[in-house]
Symmetry: C2
Subunit: 627 residues, 2 copies
């Protein structure tokens, strides 16, 4: 069993445990011929199959559940161990629930590296995370994905990586990479078993149009470990929705209302009720389940994105359970949605034969990912979190271990690639000093909403400059080829690799710059003073959020990994985030506008109305550049 135990504890995903030996170990333990590693006694077992709570005890060996005995039916007293065991855990009458499975999330959105995300998520009871790394893939391509996989393997959270399906977000985006169906297949051949499914298919026109390359990418999903293709289809309906589902896309986390969710459920899609930091859709969707609890089997939870401060203070999938219960969903049904339903989406309940791969329930032949909960209100972190039978978190504190970077050959090299992701051209003050043209198209910020408006003011009063500066090396190369000619540095890139425009409703005294700008993550800068803007862009360094006023850096969140992720802990990033917010407020950014959230979606060229791109201002409604 030593090899297997090593496998579990190390979290390495490249070693397939011996099916037969594991099967025999589980059977021998269940039958009492071999002592269990751990027996949990005196537990209120959350039975997600029958949607009940029942007193019982559970035997674990080799990281998997070997047996479950219910009091009355199978044993006289659930507090008396029915098996011999190396360790007996007295649950003291607490609830024993399956570990949570987060159906869809972006680690990069938490601004921490995967191993740190794992530590954070484990403290809140997430034991399996289905991660789409399309942010880092837009910056560093498949090397970015490889970094995520390798770094995640340092931690004992099972992060299952989806292949980003839409890199770049639009064919002509100036992103850091292009990932074609052929690239995906090559990567999967090289990293056998490392890719769990195809990530959210966001190219709706590509699907509706039956675009060949789009369909090829979807077909790659069949070759992944789960065979599943995840979706992203806000407001799809009628024959567009039919087309989308007919393509084989199985889940959507973009529903905001009950009617559209029902449309998708009727057509066989799973609906992920999202409760993240940007989007809070769960309460709106809860009536689905309250009115028809049978739909719980086709609905699960997802965080999509979760800021460390929210994750640490309010929770992740545990928070989704809390919101669900507050919205009237039975707590046991909520747990079943957070576990079994997500497992069902991805075939983890019984899709694979190896017990170590099965999960989502307290049942024999499942991985022993279990939570001890004081109650079913989900108001704090779980009392205890076990992964593969090992205690990893206790009352919000991580008690496991993260392997050092140098334990993963090649990880330092991949990390080096990420640390070198910000390739900005030479810039002079001139390029920031452009003039306002009366009547030109201007982004109208709607605080708290990713959608923007388009205004055409006659004066620049109340406006701020907004620029999007390509940072993946195109601008650098153009300069080497003499793009600036005799002009000041960067002026020759304007309208090609440096977009210039104006924004209304983004009050700031000074400048803010960021290497996060969805989805291509070029450098976005907003400000009222060209010198502060230039200083802010320069202060970005190898990546991060920067606030500059009067030539001085007032706050910075370093994001040296791809310009997206910090090196620091979730707690440190949360503190930096708080300090950044405070500095932003001091610089005039007033609520409800969030200095970070208010800016990082302004370059996203797939959400209405006006956006900034490296070529200039872009009207998403007409798909053309605005004058």
């Amino acid at each position: 069993m030593d090899e297997m135990t090593a496998h579990m504890k190390g979290g390495a995903k490249d070693m397939e445990p011996n099916l037969v030996k594991l099967m025999q170990a589980l059977i021998d333990t269940a039958e009492g011929r071999v002592p269990a590693d751990t027996v949990f006694v005196n537990a209120q077992i959350v039975d997600v199959y029958r949607l009940r709570v029942a007193r019982g005890q559970v035997a674990v060996t080799c990281g998997c559940i070997a047996g479950v005995l219910f009091e009355g039916r199978d044993c006289a007293d659930a507090s008396v161990p029915a098996w011999e065991a190396a360790r007996v855990v007295d649950c003291e009458g607490r609830y024993l629930a399956p570990g949570f499975i987060d159906g869809h999330l972006h680690i990069e959105s938490s601004n921490i590296r995967p191993s740190e995300y794992a530590r954070m998520a484990l403290t809140r009871g997430t034991t399996t995370a289905i991660a789409d790394s399309h942010e880092i893939a837009n910056v560093c391509g498949l090397e970015g994905l490889a970094f995520m996989i390798e770094d995640a393997s340092r931690a004992p959270l099972d992060i299952k990586f989806m292949m980003p399906s839409c890199v770049p977000a639009l064919p002509d985006e100036q992103a850091g990479a292009v990932i074609t169906a052929a690239d995906m297949e090559a990567f999967m051949n090289e990293h056998h078993g490392a890719i769990f499914g195809l990530g959210e298919m966001m190219n709706l026109p590509g699907v509706y149009g039956a675009d060949e390359e789009t369909c090829r990418r979807i077909a790659v999903g069949a070759k992944t470990a789960s065979g599943q293709v995840d979706g992203h289809a806000p407001m799809a309906c009628g024959n567009d929705l039919n087309a989308y589902v007919a393509a084989g896309i199985i889940a959507d986390h973009e529903n905001t209302g009950v009617e559209e969710a029902l449309d998708e459920l009727s057509r066989g899609m799973y609906v992920m009720l999202r409760e993240g930091t940007c989007s809070h859709d769960l309460a709106n969707l809860a009536p689905l389940i309250v009115e028809n609890p049978a739909l719980a089997r086709r609905c699960c939870f997802a965080t999509d994105d979760r800021a460390p401060s929210d994750a640490l203070n309010v929770g992740m999938i545990d928070n989704a359970c809390r919101v669900a219960v507050e919205a009237g969903i039975d707590p046991v049904v909520a747990i079943s949605m957070a576990t079994l339903s997500t497992a069902d989406v991805f075939g983890l309940d019984h899709g694979a034969l190896c017990a170590f791969d099965r999960r989502g329930a307290i049942a024999p032949g499942k991985r022993a990912d279990v939570l001890l909960l004081d109650n079913l209100a989900f108001e704090g972190a779980p009392h205890r979190v076990y992964v593969a039978g090992e205690l990893l978190a206790e009352d919000g504190a991580f008690v496991g271990s993260i392997a050092p970077v140098d334990s993963r050959p090649g990880l330092d090299k991949l990390e080096g690639r990420l640390r070198d992701s910000v390739q900005l051209p030479e810039l002079s003050l001139d390029v920031f000093s452009y003039k306002f043209r009366p009547g030109e198209a201007v982004i109208d910020v709607i605080p708290g909403n990713a959608v923007t408006g388009m205004a055409r003011p006659e004066t620049a009063e109340g406006l701020r400059r907004i620029m999007l500066i390509e940072r993946h090396g195109r601008g650098v190369e153009a300069q080497l080829s003499g793009a600036d000619g005799d002009g000041a540095a960067g002026t020759g890139l304007a309208g090609r690799h440096i977009g210039q425009g104006w924004v209304r409703g983004f009050a700031i005294r000074g400048a803010i710059a960021s290497t996060i700008g969805h989805d291509s993550h070029n450098v976005c800068v907003v400000g009222d003073d060209p010198a502060d803007m230039l200083a802010a862009v320069r202060a970005v360094g190898s990546g991060g959020f920067v606030l500059v006023q009067d030539g001085e850096v007032r706050a910075k969140i370093d994001l040296p990994l791809g310009g997206l992720m910090s090196d620091k802990t979730a707690e440190e990033v949360a503190r930096e985030h708080d300090a950044f917010m405070e500095a932003g407020r001091a610089m005039g950014i007033e609520p409800p506008l969030d200095p970070i959230m208010g800016m990082i979606f302004l370059p996203l060229p797939v959400i209405p109305t006006l956006r900034i791109r490296p070529e200039g201002m872009f009207d998403v409604t007409t798909f053309s550049y605005a004058e």
Copy 2:
């Protein structure tokens, strides 16, 4: 699309349709850029995901559903086609339901060949059948399985073949074959994709004991198309059940009571509610669903075995739906159990990416296996049965086509092997003329129950002789080696390849013989006269059931294929069965004893109490031969 259409109509399983082309065809059809093959309008769609009925219309192309539009939400009038189509089917307000999926069945138990079984099953709305061919495998080994697969491919029913897991039923059984884990793997390598899962694991002691070969066989399940291992675990509970589930076995059709079914559900097993010819468990299990409809997602239906007369007159899975509704289950829930739930067991809802492989619902991207039903009472055959969009049955009549035997290269050779399966030794009257020993162990028949008792009467009054004669060539070989010595033919085989004993409660004047005798299918004969018994065994010929009285054959059902299956149609076999029953009654076999069912389980050495084996009388409770 021609290749794909050919694929669908021919039912050939070895051609993988081009995923991308099929995806594009479905999308283009949904979006109205390409006309549909068929549009079903004016339908009451049975929506198994939301458990409702809603008016709508459905577009089909390439054998798959491209789009579903619901009246009110998606279209103004479900009777006006929203798509152009080569053919519009007006459902005239009938219910449009998914085709039924039978979760577990033995084709051989219907005594007809697979292509004929397919024809019969289609008329009752079964469009996917999960078949375990362990009967023929016990006679002809993997050649028998190959015959089943090839013959099934002649018909348009999708029969998914499980690999028989327990051949022979016990290690020392005198069956026609032994199938080891290594044999299974070799077969699967040779017949790529032909095996859908591992068939019911009946070797409970092998599983509980973690026997190496048993565990290896279970592990083979992971390499099948579905990756699933089916179960068979009557009355398993506590740690035996834990061991069984921990081994990765996913479903059980052997539950007869609610409590044992709940035990399995709690541990993550799917429960198949069986409604067959021998076993009628559904009504007893229905309270599971009536009391907790959420369990419908973890419960499905299976026939296990179904005599043609029952299938034709009463139905198959449609009959299970009828019984379910009579037991208080909502008809839409019943349909969802007969379709989506079974699909979920085997990963057919969304486990595979190809639309042609997905099924269990009226939804885009699923195979267009649909039923038109006049009502939801399931009292007769479905009005119409479509498979992959093609009409195959109408009001109980098959309107499709079955390809000729010679369309399948190699099928005639496999069939020849099956026709030569009865290899009986030379027999003389002497071997039938053994004496009763007062106080010897005697089988006590319990009519209508597979379980038997053991009696030790002092006289032979009311008893009949019962013999089990090995018929796979062992006896023939022993005779060639001189086993009979100077004795009469067959006498040297007694107690080695010919079991001799007595049975109580099997009144018959004359003799009955059968080449069906679970699970090794040696020739079983019961009678009151040695001469009639010898004549009956001789009359068996290449296989079948025989009744002989006064030296004359009174009735026969020819089963030349492996001694298990007829060449004839289901209707003919049903008539032969009726005639056989009548002849049996005339010969003194009184109800409730069934002349066929009453005998074919007497050799099964795994059901209590006393059984006959080629070595003699066997006490299943002590696992030893009885004196």
